[in-house]
Symmetry: C2
Subunit: 122 residues, 2 copies
DNA sequence: TGGCATTGACTACGCTTGTAATCGGTGGAA
DNA sequence: TTCCACCGATTACAAGCGTAGTCAATGCCA
């Protein structure tokens, strides 16, 4: 389960997180069209995700229905933590400081974050 | 220059961001010992980073001195943005919300961020 | 002045990733 | 009944990556 999900695999996971269970065909149709993948490519990725136990499939007639095993929450948390550990010594504030310095925070971002923090303390 | 810096390469970059210029030998000595790399491995990574134009070297006697060409700032910004785009639809607040929900923010984090935001508005 | 140690360059090699074609089984149309 | 379309499984293959050994040049010590 700890096997890392690659970038291409992640695109497939997003589809299944959005809606599941789905057949391979359904997934192929829903995956980001910018990728320009053939159905075969999607099937390969599904196979690899199965091997990594990131998804599971149940037989339905002569095809399979796929569904996620790892929660999006957990994946996202893992990736976020990885980045913060790798680049900011595990602390979150430096990331905010960094983005702020580079003017990557919109006024809306700032307002939203303030509201969040206020809630946290309540 | 747009070539992505891999994980192992990043470990080498960290050394050079911390102190430069350095010889290959110096870099090998300073790189995170947890990696357990041989000197040769570090040299290979230096070579690849040169090819990617992420670093440069100048001759010094019969060896080279290596120094970064890309700023840590820029690398970090790129990686942060990638994560936020990929997982949070390009918006920052959802990342904060996510971490908050999972109790991944310490009281200190929160205090620091609040202080930062206050400064931003000042 | 001849051999050794050091240094960067080149080569190696198995693993993962991205992308896809091909194969083998099977249920359904004709 | 026969054959085809469709499905999952298997195989392919080039690029990138992690890790490191080998080679060729050169400066230094004996």
């Amino acid at each position: 389960m700890a096997e890392r999900i690659s970038d291409a695999e992640h695109a497939v996971m997003e589809v299944l997180w959005d809606e599941a269970p789905l057949t391979a065909q359904d997934v192929a149709e829903r995956v980001d069209p910018d990728r320009g993948w053939s159905t075969n490519t999607v099937k390969t990725l599904l196979g690899r995700l199965l091997a990594k136990e990131a998804i599971a499939h149940e037989e339905q007639g002569r095809r399979y229905l796929y569904r996620p095993l790892v929660a999006r929450e957990d994946y996202v948390a893992g990736e976020s933590r990885r980045l913060i550990d790798r680049l900011f010594g595990g602390r979150f504030a430096p990331l905010v400081a960094h983005l702020a310095e580079r003017d990557e925070l919109t006024a809306q971002d700032i307002a939203e974050i303030e509201a969040l923090l206020k809630d946290l303390k309540a």
